[in-house]
Amino acid sequence: MPDRLNNEERPLVLTNARVIDPSRKLDARGTVIVADGVIVAAGPEADAVSFPEGAEIVDCRGAAVMPGLIDMRVFIGEPGGEHRETFASAGQAAAAGGVTTVIMMPDTDPVIDDVALVDYIARRTRDTALVNVMPMAAITKGLRGREMTEFGLLKDVGAVGFTDGRHSITNALVLRRALTYARDFGALIMHHPADPDLTGSGVMNEGETATRLGLSGIPKEAEIIMLERDIRLAALTRGRYHAAQISCAESLEIIRRAKRAGLAVSCGVSATHLALNELDIGPYRTFFRLSPPLRSEDDRQAMIEGVADGSIDVIVSSHDPQDVDTKRHPFAEAADGAVGLETLLAASLRLVNNGDVDLLTVARALSTRPAELLGLPGGKLTAGAPADIILVDPAMPWICDGEKLRSRSKNTPFEGARFEGRVLRTIVAGRTVYAYAAD
């Protein structure tokens, strides 16, 4: 078993808490009672419930108690890239970041496109990871964009959805069939909309900044055109379609239109894209090289609006560990990706602390909504739900130190960033897997 802080499973009572439960729009003073790995009661009504015998009682002193985060887009090195990240190191990073469920992308070596591998990951993560790790399986075999994987069998063994990860499916017929077939199993198809031909040799957002830096640009249309196509296919098939990440204002409009039309369409945005824009690349800093790329400030503002009005369903970390071998290169030759598990909550809380979005809405995009999309039992603080809970001080200031990140790779775009909001305690199935200690 991984090292957990309280090995004996004592009941837990969190008193004097600001209870945040987006599943019932609850933001109120109250108590949360946990026993046997599930929530017994939560909210003001729990104040009157008698505490279980032998419970650990924690006075939260007004700190927030929220559902643990469910991060829908996480790349893990294991298997095949253990030098970048393992289940153990990703689990520690997740626990410290308040992420109680990691949805793992199938871009591993070997690719998660087979029943045996999903089964292996379930067993391996149960043994080595502090938090829940659930794989999404590939839509197409080998992520090659051609033949479908065994959606039904994969779902039965624990694949929580289907995605080709970093890869876009350029063949519209393949995606059409995947959406159609997945519908029979109620499975979610998560796609990365980025036309590889329009992306070309581009490495950052197209425009003045790219031109000044002498870097080739990626036009927003690489995302917009493919997203528009995808939405048409979702309408055609009535399948459940989720855009893994959108990055620009036009994409948000497409999603809004699809939702108004009543399609089963949803989308995500990364916390990094909510916090940063293309200018942050500065003098060719490769930790800011992402896919989709960081866009303009107007696009960033649009993403925040999308979160605020619920058009954007989920906030993800898009955690993508890369080491110096792939990052310490000239910008055009470096790999895409940034780590984000430990900064997901803090970066998202910037929206709250800036007054753009309320805490309940951000918490919903980080927990309740992903649980709904994936059909998971968590993401809420109601009696009987799994006790995947975090205790958060939404105002505690801290400075991000890349070297202290628990992830095996240190490629954070938030080096030296000042944050407000810190996880004090992370609880998975009733067990405390992380407790904040001032360093």
Binding site: T211, L213, G214, P330
Partner: protein, 318 residues
């Protein structure tokens, strides 16, 4: 040096020359003034100065270059430096690895000045962060080539006087050109009116935000220009088809006598080299009386001497 004049180091207080962007007009002018002196030195029988005596200069070229590399070599030698040339050709090794690894190896040899050319934009910035010596950007991808812009400015100034109020047209493959970017920055800093002319497929997005006027019709773009700067059509860099054929390109954007006639009478023609005769420039123009192309080569050595001298005065124990 004249005692009454501010030393270039006092004006140019940088450790590296990574680009024109970020330089103040006064710093650019100080470098040009210093280069004027270097022109005089280079025209004497005794061409040596001692400002870099005992210093080691390494020319590290990840991309083939004859003109720029030999120009830097000569400039360093005229200032008394020990100059070593390293050409790191493309190998099967991942190029970025070669960059950092080579840089660390060279750093261990304690050079004072590293002159670097690399095919990737930003590579020279990356290297400057890793080494302990002064770094000069001799061209990084499609980003900057600051000494080319300085030598172009020196050439213009010697023929046309102060650069402000001149109209300068930069023509051709702006998209892939580091020379264009450095020139746009420098000429704008000195108050010139800068135009860019080329087919839309070779004009980068956001170019209009860099303070230039954009033309896709060469005759309109050349109207009233004092200087016509031609760029090499970098066929080897193109990863697709930006222009349909050389024939069509020359027809619309090749500089010949007919098109040059639209510029101001006495307009002068420049080209950073190497030229594709018959693709972007007609031989009769390249070798004709309005051409400054050979002057540019001479000014290249002088400008590089000036840059080396300015940086040398900021070196530790300088």
């Amino acid at each position: 040096m004249n005692e009454l004049k501010a030393s270039p180091a006092a004006v140019f207080a940088h450790r590296h020359l990574l680009g024109i962007e970020g330089l103040l007009p006064a710093e650019i002018i100080a470098l040009l003034d210093l280069a004027e002196e270097a022109v005089e030195v280079s025209r004497q029988v005794e061409k040596k100065k001692a400002v870099l005596r005992g210093r080691t200069q390494i020319n590290l070229f990840f991309e083939a270059s004859t003109r720029t590399q030999s120009s830097f070599e000569l400039a360093g030698k005229r200032l008394g430096a020990d100059v070593m040339n390293m050409s790191v050709g493309s190998s099967s090794v991942k190029k970025g690895e070669t960059l950092i690894d080579t840089a660390m190896t060279l750093n261990a040899m304690n050079p004072d000045i590293l002159v670097v050319r690399h095919h990737a934009a930003g590579a020279v910035h990356l290297l400057a962060q890793k080494v302990g010596c002064s770094v000069i950007n001799a061209g990084d991808g499609a980003h900057e080539h600051p000494t080319q812009a300085l030598l172009d400015a020196l050439t213009i100034r010697r023929h046309k006087g102060p650069i402000h109020d001149l109209t300068i047209a930069i023509c051709g493959d702006i998209l892939h050109s580091r020379v264009a970017r450095s020139n746009i920055m420098l000429l704008n800093a000195l108050g010139a009116r800068v135009r860019c002319i080329g087919p839309s497929t070779l004009l980068p997005k956001g170019l209009d935000r860099l303070g230039v006027e954009i033309f896709t019709d060469m005759r309109k773009g050349l109207a009233d220009a004092d200087i016509v700067m031609m760029l090499r059509l970098q066929r080897e860099r193109m990863d697709g088809s930006f222009v349909p054929s050389v024939r069509e390109y020359f027809h619309f954007f090749g500089l010949d006598a007919e098109k040059l006639a639209f510029a101001k009478p006495g307009a002068l023609v420049m080209h950073p080299g190497p030229m594709n005769r018959g693709v972007e420039i007609d031989s009769a123009i390249a070798d004709g009386p309005q051409s400054l192309i050979r002057d540019q080569v001479e000014m290249g050595v002088a400008v590089r001497m000036a840059v080396l001298e300015a940086l040398a005065q900021n070196l530790p124990n300088g």
